[in-house]
């Protein structure tokens, strides 16, 4: 085998599949961070969504119900984080880490007896004859509905953050919670909504891994995807379209290295496997170096606790 076995059509199509879990999780985290909350528990919510979605889909036979269950479980876990950080005013970094550690444990506990099972297949979105077009048919019109949902969500979040009044409120809370509070905005309630939304997105992303991308349940299967999603939000300078670019860039690196592994390139597999993480670090460095001492676009109140009586 050689490099010629890599088909560009399949490469681009599988790139989109590889990017979708990260895109979903990063979009959720984008909204959370624009509201001024740093939730480092993305990895924990993703993996919990992966197993809850998998269990629900296997149990009911419906992948759609699986995705709903995944979103609900991600949101539920996120609300634990929200309760601790917003009501009990705990440290956001520590609580996010706790969420990741807890989610990893909980998921392997729930996942007992689910390994080795194949989930019900997620249907392709039917575009009729369009799917038969060469290249375009496979790349643009050949995916399942979650891929299109993630793309629609990108546009929706862009519109919400930049064009809607509710988005303006959310950004105000993230930029200056004291001023937002003085204007009568419900800082804590808005942040809790954003946190729940972020959790639901992370759960969806996790379920996409276990139901479509792999599709199987294995312990620790997210393998840092949640952390990469966090890095992509920084890479995107907290903008929705930037998140899309970042996620697809990452998907490209992942798919390329998997294809190189499969093509049997004379390069140790382990070094190819570490390349997505190294690329993420390199991109983080480029972004933070370019924007100087204070990262451009970071919400001013990111990670700061808010207590109304102060």
């Amino acid at each position: 085998m050689g490099l010629s076995t890599i088909s560009p059509t399949l490469l681009v199509a599988s790139l989109m599949i590889a990017a979708t879990p990260i895109l979903l999780a990063a979009l959720g985290e984008l909204v959370v961070e624009r509201a001024g909350v740093l939730n480092l528990g993305v990895e924990g919510m993703m993996i919990t969504g992966a197993i809850c979605g998998f269990a629900a889909a296997v149990g009911t036979g419906s992948p759609a119900l699986g995705f709903v269950a995944a979103a609900a479980s991600g949101a539920a876990l996120a609300l634990v984080f929200g309760f601790l950080t917003q009501i009990l005013l705990s440290n956001q970094v520590a609580t996010g880490l706790a969420l990741t550690l807890f989610g990893l444990g909980l998921s392997s506990l729930l996942g007992q007896g689910y390994s080795g099972i194949r989930p019900p297949p997620t249907a392709r979105f039917d575009f009729g004859p369009l799917s038969d077009l060469p290249f375009v048919g496979r790349v643009v019109f050949g995916h399942d509905w979650i891929v299109y949902l993630s793309l629609a969500l990108t546009a929706l979040i862009w519109w919400f953050l930049t064009r809607s009044r509710a988005g303006l409120t959310l950004r105000a809370v993230g930029e200056n919670h004291e001023a937002a509070h003085a204007l009568g905005m419900k800082v804590v309630a808005i942040r809790l909504c954003a946190i729940a939304f972020g959790g639901a997105c992370a759960g969806l992303g996790g379920a996409y891994l276990s139901l479509v991308r792999v599709p199987q349940w294995t312990e620790g299967m997210t393998a840092g995807a949640g952390w990469i999603a966090l890095a992509i939000v920084v890479f995107a300078s907290w903008r929705a379209w930037g998140v899309l670019v970042g996620a697809y860039l990452f998907g490209g690196v992942t798919v390329l290295q998997l294809n190189l592994q499969a093509a049997g390139v004379a390069f140790p597999v382990e070094y190819l496997s570490m390349s997505p993480y190294l690329v993420t670090i390199a991109v983080l460095v480029l972004m933070s170096a370019r924007s100087g001492r204070r990262a451009l676009g970071a919400p001013a109140c990111l990670g700061k606790p808010f207590h109304a009586s102060q």
């Binding site: 601790l84 705990s90 706790a98 550690l101 909980l106 393998a223 670090i281 009586s309």
Partner: protein, 362 residues
Amino acid sequence: MIRLEKRPQPSAIWKTVTPLLAVILTIVAGGLMFAALGTDPVAAIRTIFWDPLFHPQYASYSRPQLLVKAGPLILIAIGLSIGFRAGIWNIGAEGQYIIGAITGAGAGLALYPSEAWWIFPMMVAAGALGGWLWAMIPAILKTHFNTNEILVSLLLVYVAENLMASMAVGALRNPEGGGFPGSRNLSQWPAASNPELIAGTGMHWGVMAAFVAVILAYVLMSRHLTGFHIQLAGQAPRAAAFAGVRPERLVVFCLGLSGALAGLAGIFEVTGPAGQLSIDFNVGYGFTAIIVAFLGRLHPAGILLAGLLMALTYIGGELASFTLGIPAAAIQSFQGMLLFFLLAVDVLTNYRIRLGRTEAAT
């Protein structure tokens, strides 16, 4: 209506009571979790917290394990706690632990089968250096490019895991191992082994190092100017800047120290309890140490106790999966839950809870 009123200063009493309260709440919630799994909760809790130390049959095996497991946890957590105090978040200790094991084992194996006395000390130094170098990556990126150290240190864990896998099947593979992955057994090579120092206690050089680290960290944080600067930078960064604290130096110091300690934990583990470098060498000590650091209130003495408690849950969890059939993963969620409860009850340290109506027009 319940509301929170900020205390002028964190309450000293609650600061010591909250970890205990969190442990009790975790035991209650964990009991409920075990009941949901269909196990007798009382038996499960007793197996985890009591039997490893006092069971007539199992205690002789599991009691020495307490120090074996607590050693690396304490050693890593001490390093992390110093950074956490300064607001520098090294969460990639797992990676630094792996790299310490690789560099230390590699330095030793290069001289196999020499019997010189200095091989083990040299390996220990190489392990600490490896962990330090691995932690310097996020540190230098932070000071020169302002890159987030949380993300970089964490992502490097996955890089380190892949590097270890490549070493176990490649450069460091045992040439006499029949092609199986994994290095030579270091614990069976007297010049490189880290044996149990007092039979039946589990005490090895890594545990000694952990105890020394506890004492030195206490001296550093309470008697030394650097320790004061670290606390100042964490609590009031602006005041620290006026006092002449250089944040870049603190980043390099804190990340380097925690990396070196994690590297030490790695080399002591690979030469002692683990014995060899293999694909499944790391078991999450670097992440559990984060819980240990918080449970110990980022204070050396607290970390010592928290490390022993966490080690107990590890051993008890193994025992519970062996005797009661509780899945091994249950203990991991148990540990995560402990950190949740700790962070939740911490509100009592910093805030007073007031019952009654809010005053008008606030």
